[in-house]
């Protein structure tokens, strides 16, 4: 059962998705449901192995193309709506034991092409207002299946974090005539100390306002709004930048570094978002080799993050690991 329940206190939607309680949780080695089905083996979710990347509808979705009716009635104070949307899983490889960081640039480039293809198709659906491409990596951020994969949620509304960025960008454009994120990139370039790496098309930095010690943003140098605006060389540039950053992450503490990767691009509701700017945000939970950053009282209860580190120092650490 699933539905969207409105939170009038925060002005946002929460999805109930009770079927997700039964999803596969950290299966033993050899029983990964995302590995290809092998002859004589147990039937997995993926019936064949002859592919580079595969995308499919999530077996345990939070949003559905054909959602059931809500189990509870709405009221004036508590609106309820169908949890209509799309949840996809994107497997990066048939190989269970790889990670995006381990993949060669050419294969990461192929993943960027797949992201673009999925964005283009989901963006065109009339009930979709926002296509969110992301990856949860590592048990520290709640991963339940280790097979290398990302996810895509196509929401029937613009999610709150993106809505805040859109509004800030709109107001900045109104006030100054310029793009807010272009301004952030210019400021980071001027200051230099928070830049981790850059190439012709992309720049990676820990922003001035980072909430996590190793929070990293990868931003397009050209002012564009979505993956479908990229040239082939810009897709390649993004793949090269992802490879550099992910390898640097893994080099920090000699572990396969956990993170949440969030791709922020324009909404899909048909409005004009020329004031917005494509970028990727990473939220890694590790603050040292043995300690995690938790969302505690101030973060979870008040929405104010406390970063125990200086972005300038953490950027220097990562910069030293760039190959």
């Amino acid at each position: 059962m699933s539905e969207l329940r409105y939170n009038p206190l925060l002005g946002e939607w929460t999805a109930t998705a009770t079927q997700r309680q039964d999803r596969t949780f950290l299966p033993p080695a050899g029983f990964c449901p995302l590995c290809p089905t092998m002859p004589g083996g147990f039937p997995t979710e993926v019936p064949e192995s002859d592919y580079d990347i595969v995308a499919f509808e999530n077996r345990f979705p939070s949003l559905k193309t054909h959602p059931e009716e809500p189990v509870i009635a709405a009221s004036e104070l508590y609106p309820v709506r169908l949890s209509k949307g799309v949840c996809e899983v994107v497997l990066y490889s048939p190989n269970h034991y790889t990670t995006l960081a381990d993949e060669p640039v050419g294969r990461i480039h192929n993943l960027v092409r797949v992201w673009r293809d999925r964005f283009r198709e989901l963006d065109a659906l009339d009930f979709v207002e926002y296509v969110f491409i992301f990856e949860n990596k590592g048990e520290a951020v709640g991963v339940t299946l280790h097979h290398p994969h990302g996810q895509i949620y196509a929401y029937p509304f613009i999610p709150p974090t993106v809505a805040v960025e859109l509004e800030a960008s709109r107001l900045h454009k109104e006030k100054t005539g310029n793009c807010l994120i272009c301004g952030i990139v210019d400021e980071e370039k001027r200051f230099e100390q928070r830049i981790i790496a850059q190439n012709e098309s992309f720049i990676a930095y820990i922003p001035f306002f980072a909430r996590y010690p190793y929070e990293t943003h990868i931003t397009a140098k050209r002012h564009m709004q979505a993956l479908t605006d990229f040239s082939d060389s810009e897709e390649r540039g993004l793949a090269e930048m992802l490879k550099q950053i992910l390898v640097a992450f893994d080099g920090l503490f000699s572990v396969s570094f956990p993170y949440i990767m969030a791709i922020h691009q324009r909404p899909s509701d048909g409005d004009n978002y020329d004031h917005y700017h494509f970028h990727i945000e990473f939220y890694p939970p590790m603050r040292t080799a043995t300690k995690l950053k938790y969302l505690a009282g101030s973060e979870a209860g008040a929405g104010m993050f406390i970063n125990d580190t200086l972005p300038e120092e953490k950027a220097a650490e990562l910069r030293g690991l760039i190959k």
């Binding site: 002859d50 592919y51 499919f56 060669p104 050419g106 293809d117 048990e139 520290a140 390898v247 572990v255």
Partner: protein, 48 residues
């Protein structure tokens, strides 16, 4: 907009429960970059 070169092939199937699955394959020349040696990227792989 993206340039016209597209080395990607797709094949879409429907699973018994009605969900779609899209298999992507690429020309080998787009996938054959040399991977970083394992000891360069993740010296001792552990899940965290």
């Amino acid at each position: 907009m993206a340039e016209t070169k597209e080395p990607m092939q797709t094949r879409r199937i429907l699973m018994p429960d009605g969900r779609y699955m899209i298999f992507y394959t690429f020309d080998s020349e787009t996938s054959d970059d040399t991977a970083a040696p394992a000891d360069e990227s993740t010296p001792e792989k552990q899940d965290v």
